[in-house]
Symmetry: C2
Subunit: 308 residues, 2 copies
């Protein structure tokens, strides 16, 4: 799957991923109204609204992007109905041949970690059947529990030729509270980065490893250091746009081959219809998804302009 | 909810929690056979089997325990159908007046962390309605992302009078890879423990804080140190029994008031029917839940014997 991701990035010339992180107040009111009139102001109604919202954005962008990253928390907040839409979104993205990065940030130990790996990337055994429960292509994973938490994911990645992105340095302001603390003169995130490189060397694709890392766009200097620590790992970079990360700061996340990083934007794309610059171009609530396509194109130009 | 938890521990004289972590191969074949004959060897069939298994164990133990801890990974591995049973289990435990600790180990930032907090402990707003999606009483949370990940949970805890247990020192062999590393001459887990105490001071119940910690039974010396660092935090202690933690090592997790810790056992209780000691007492696959009740009683005796 890492080979497919690289291949699709090359073909679209777009090292980006669209974060499908739907909050209910992002959804245009024409969609929520219709969903509520059909299902009521219920979890079913909310789920239907975010499904229609997602579908329109996917339809408007799938041919010019390599991948999407649904943030599962945004679905989980609507309970079981939200989880249904998470699954429906993953399946629909596969129909459109998109690579799906499940932003699930799971992390546990032993058989529990295996259960997460199976649920999101693998197949669960029921009697004589093997069934894919959520079936993402990649999942994000939290490293706090150490190798016991990661190894079960590696096993499933090898079996299924899928991948993970391990949290190394997150994009938020307080990420330094623990991640930046010095251990033997090196920050914790660098120790985690070294483990990522080690874990990654066990499962290599053609050019990059199945094991990538998450490093926030808001910390470019740390990104530059981590790029060297994990030369064969794809870096998934959140924090561009709404969180303050700028295109000019992104070059250091890439290798000299022009690859090695994939930049996420969520609100910047899915809420583009609320931005003045697109409203001026004739965007309304009704054609909100066209704004997402425009925003994707602008993002690709912005990033390629800065890194090439 | 922390007051209710303490109250129930006092009433049952049982500082324990039963981990409802059903693997399909834990479920007696009489149950899986029936479920598969009704729903096929499908995710629905698997979900029905673990629901019947859970229900029997809850029915057999609810009056002698204060709390349960369903591990969501074990449900998530069965996809949406598994999540339905997670919710059904939480609801059923509430009917039985049990405190429910959702072992979800979630952790993200800002609005994403809020979405998890809302989904598991709070209420989500849909139009004019406020709906509880999963409705646990406590959730476990991962600290790697720092305060940005924790604060949204604290906000919801204050609103709903619910609580969290933050991973501090986990029970697994490799937990030391990052958690034990020295920062300014103190291990990372102790720094996390200090933050737990700080976060916890913002939301106090009568005796203990809404903010507890997870510290593995397999590391009693660290437990003793952390007990002092976080005097007002309940410690949720996994690792007793199957993972190797012994009752004699548990005293250090408790305060002098005899409170302050709650010991989890999962396999030791829910798979008790497979143990020689209960088979000898007439347990078969058919009356497996009776073994769980016996194992709960034995566990309470074992622990109270060691800590009193």
């Amino acid at each position: 799957m890492i080979n497919k991701l690289i291949d699709k990035i090359k073909k679209t010339d777009a090292p980006i991923v669209v974060g499908l992180d739907p909050m209910l107040d992002y959804v245009p009111s024409c969609i929520t109204k219709k969903a509520f009139s059909e299902y009521g102001e219920t979890l079913e109604g909310a789920a239907e609204a975010i499904w229609q919202y997602n579908k329109a954005i996917i339809d408007a962008t799938y041919d010019i992007i390599p991948a999407v990253k649904p943030q599962i928390a945004m679905y989980e907040q609507f309970g079981v109905e939200g989880m249904k839409v998470f699954k429906k979104t993953v399946d629909y993205c596969h129909e459109k041949d998109l690579v799906v990065i499940g932003d699930v940030k799971r992390g546990d130990i032993g058989s529990t970690s295996k259960a997460y790996a199976v649920g999101h990337l693998g197949k669960v055994t029921v009697g004589n059947n093997k069934i894919s429960p959520f079936n993402e292509d990649f999942a994000t994973v939290n490293p706090y529990l150490g190798s016991d938490g990661i190894t079960p994911f590696l096993d499933i990645c090898k079996e299924e030729k899928k991948g993970i992105f391990i949290l190394v340095k997150t994009s938020n302001p307080s990420s330094g509270e623990f991640q930046d603390r010095l251990i033997d003169d090196k920050p914790l995130y660098e120790h985690v980065g070294e483990k990522v490189a080690q874990w990654g060397s066990q499962c290599m694709g053609d050019e990059y490893s199945y094991v990538g890392a998450v490093v926030g766009a808001t910390y470019p200097e740390m990104g530059a250091a981590l790029r060297k620590v994990m030369p064969k790992s794809m870096i998934l970079v959140p924090g561009y746009g709404a969180q303050g990360g700028k295109a000019k700061d992104l070059k250091c996340f890439f290798n000299e081959d022009g690859l090695g990083a994939i930049i996420n934007s969520s609100r910047g794309i899915i809420c583009a219809y609320k931005k003045e610059q697109y409203i001026e171009k004739g965007i309304t609530e009704e054609n909100f998804a066209d704004a997402s396509r425009m925003a994707v194109k602008d993002m690709i130009e912005d990033i390629n302009g800065a890194i090439k």
